[in-house]
Subunit: 418 residues, 2 copies
């Protein structure tokens, strides 16, 4: 089989371990120089392919590539850009093919969530129809943990660890001050449609009274009276109440709590942020002093507290994607398969992109307590191994040292795009 | 000299290392069993003394006390409670004396910020006047770093490290997405009157273009036009703009950009929420897509990313406080004295509480760039050693293991308070 080049792109919201997948891809590809020539990375994801902005990762030192393993964010740039269907925008598919052909790219590895797996799948179909010989492999990534076909998604375990650690720490803070100060603390976490991240924060409570006391899931319609009663009972019993709220918390009619057109905690027009909204509701109705935090990007960028399990799995799916490509597989994605035994084990399996694309895996109802405000033992069993182990980056002068790449672009061969 | 008991209390907003000071106090006191009998900790700070709720730390194992070194928050409970002057509320001073006398307490160690040093100082004066033999020693603590008489305050270095690490990580996240998504990220940090914490976040930028690009200090009146211009220039030059804003950012007239109208027990304004305000301003005026984060308690509770220097210093001031007490010193506080050499060194010195109480140390103007939006090299030199070193807590099942104490109360001897 002749030698061909590989194109790798990062897509969608980045994570603290997507670069570990990039590291797995590049290091593995470098071990197969007989089959894989250059490894290109798309500058800003798939847009880099359309614009023929191909970062030649061969210009990066082995040390720089190794450093990707412990660098958060998307080192080559990511994008929020979804290819339409072929009938809607055939030009884009043709352009991709043209760029890949011009640069002798026969391996296309796309690292992203559901939308990206859909793109990879569409392009695989199109290429087959066109008789263009390319291997399309998806690499799973999403903090939202909502991809089907895989036990969990790389990126999720580290966010899960961050939110669990954070609410444990902040919970202790509030506990120590609640006698005379803040009684309610609200931490907002990501998860627009599924409560995986919010649920994982529940791991922090191991004994009765531990934070968090209440979790608000997108899956459970917000019931104001029930919630306020629960808050009151918590404060009476434990002296304080630590709450984790998913940004996607919803009303009974399916609308987001933050989309209610309400005013924020300060009486200003709504600026976004369900945490201040919830905190303010509690203040108004129960009178408790509150504090709130919105972790936002901090949670998905927090490589300093990444889960070692997550980092290993992120690397492994990158590595497996190259191996799949070399085996000539197409339109598939390496998946993480959990072992059946009591001790947590995992291995890399395979999922068809057609089965993964555009499907959101919601949290099972049996992961959420009957009253809707916390997680069950089944959920703990699922979440616990995913946050296990620490994998600290190197520090210098007190700060984590993250990869700085040269990002040298390959010379263009085609006319400009658009 | 006869044996007497020691009373230790935590006060005000807690930090991720105030328990390291507690650990220093208790472990050192245990080494002087000839002079120090029981070591009591006030349940919820000084309120515990007024209510005669004295936690007998002698009931805690050596292992539990050692674990305090790596446990955030105030393990014995803290409070926002400031003693008035003797003329205003003599009863409280008499009550403290009564409780101390009843429990043979002759050492009073008060671990807190400016207000607490003031309380310790007032009580020392009162005791002298009354001829009550007690040694009052302050132990510095505040994330705000605004105590005079000491080069820095235990608690600050760890928050500084947290905010610098966080904005570095989130900055990378935004950088990788800015082509097609978020262009402006605003992170709100603590610091009501002084910009020490916001300034420390500036350490994250080591090369041109690194986050944060803009810091908004309480010391520099907010200039809307200048600020918006700077944001626009950043986005044009680097593709994105990462902003750190102090919760205490102020208008030219000295009012806070955000003031909820609430007041805490000390009469301080309850702040929080300036990040969405700034983000919204940018959206309205420049149209950039934004994200924002409010770290709130997460920053001061983040023991998982504490500065090793900070932990050592927090322990050292606790240890020194006991040694000061045994030497019969009174109305003083161990202070951190920075060596003159180029290599960072520090030792424990001594500050008079009278010189510390109720004075806020602001950031020198030469720590802030001329344009008011970043820190200078002088600031970097000051901040850098304070965040140096990592001191990770123990983890089990992916989560940090923090001390759980028995908190057994000594039997009361007096009538109830109030």
């Amino acid at each position: 089989m002749s030698k061909a080049n590989l194109f790798y792109a990062q897509s969608g919201g980045v994570t603290s371990v997507i670069n570990a997948s990039a590291c797995g891809v590049i290091e593995t590809a470098r071990q197969h120089k007989d089959r894989i020539g250059k490894v290109y990375a798309g500058r800003n994801g798939i847009v880099g392919a359309l614009r023929e902005e191909l970062i030649d990762t061969g210009k990066e030192t082995a040390r720089a590539i190794a450093a990707l393993r412990s660098t958060p964010s998307g080192a080559f740039g990511s994008c929020r850009y979804k290819l339409k269907s072929v009938t809607e925008n055939r030009r884009e598919y043709e352009r991709l093919m043209e760029v890949f052909r011009a640069h002798n790219i026969r391996y296309f590895l796309y690292n992203g969530g559901g939308d990206s797996q859909d793109t990879a799948n569409k392009f695989a179909q199109f290429s087959l129809e066109q008789g263009f010989p390319i291997t399309c492999i998806g690499i799973p990534k999403t903090v939202d943990n909502d991809l089907p076909g895989t036990d969990n998604c790389p990126g999720f375990g580290s966010v899960a660890k961050y939110v669990a650690v954070s609410i444990r720490e902040a919970g202790l803070d509030v506990a120590s001050m609640c006698e005379s100060s803040t009684k309610v603390f609200v931490m907002e976490v990501m998860g627009r449609h599924a409560g995986w991240i919010a649920g994982a924060a529940g791991l922090a409570s191991e004994q009765e009274g531990d934070a968090p006391h209440i979790i608000l899931f997108p899956e459970i319609p917000f019931n104001r009276e029930k919630f306020l009663n629960k808050v009151k009972r918590c404060v009476k019993k434990f002296g304080y109440c630590a709450i984790v709220v998913s940004e996607g918390a919803q009303n009974a009619d399916g609308s987001f709590l933050v989309d209610t057109g309400g005013r924020d905690a300060f009486g200003h027009a709504q600026l976004g942020g369900v945490a201040p909204l919830i905190a303010n509701l509690i203040k108004d109705e129960l009178g408790y002093k509150y504090h709130w935090a919105v972790a936002d990007y901090l949670q998905r960028a927090a490589r300093h507290i990444a889960s070692a399990t997550d980092v290993k799995q992120a690397y492994a799916v990158g590595k497996a994607a190259v191996e799949f490509a070399l085996k000539g597989k197409n339109a598939v994605m390496p998946a993480i398969i959990r072992g059946k035994g009591k001790r947590y084990t995992w291995r890399i399996g395979e999922a068809r992109l057609a089965d993964v694309a555009n499907i959101e895996k919601m949290m099972p109802r049996n992961y959420i307590c009957r009253d809707g405000f916390h997680i069950t033992d089944a959920a703990r069993e699922y979440f616990r191994p995913l946050i296990r182990g620490e994998d600290y980056p190197n520090f210098k002068n007190g700060l984590p040292q993250y990869a700085r790449l040269k990002q040298q672009l390959e010379q263009k061969k085609l006319r400009s795009w658009k």
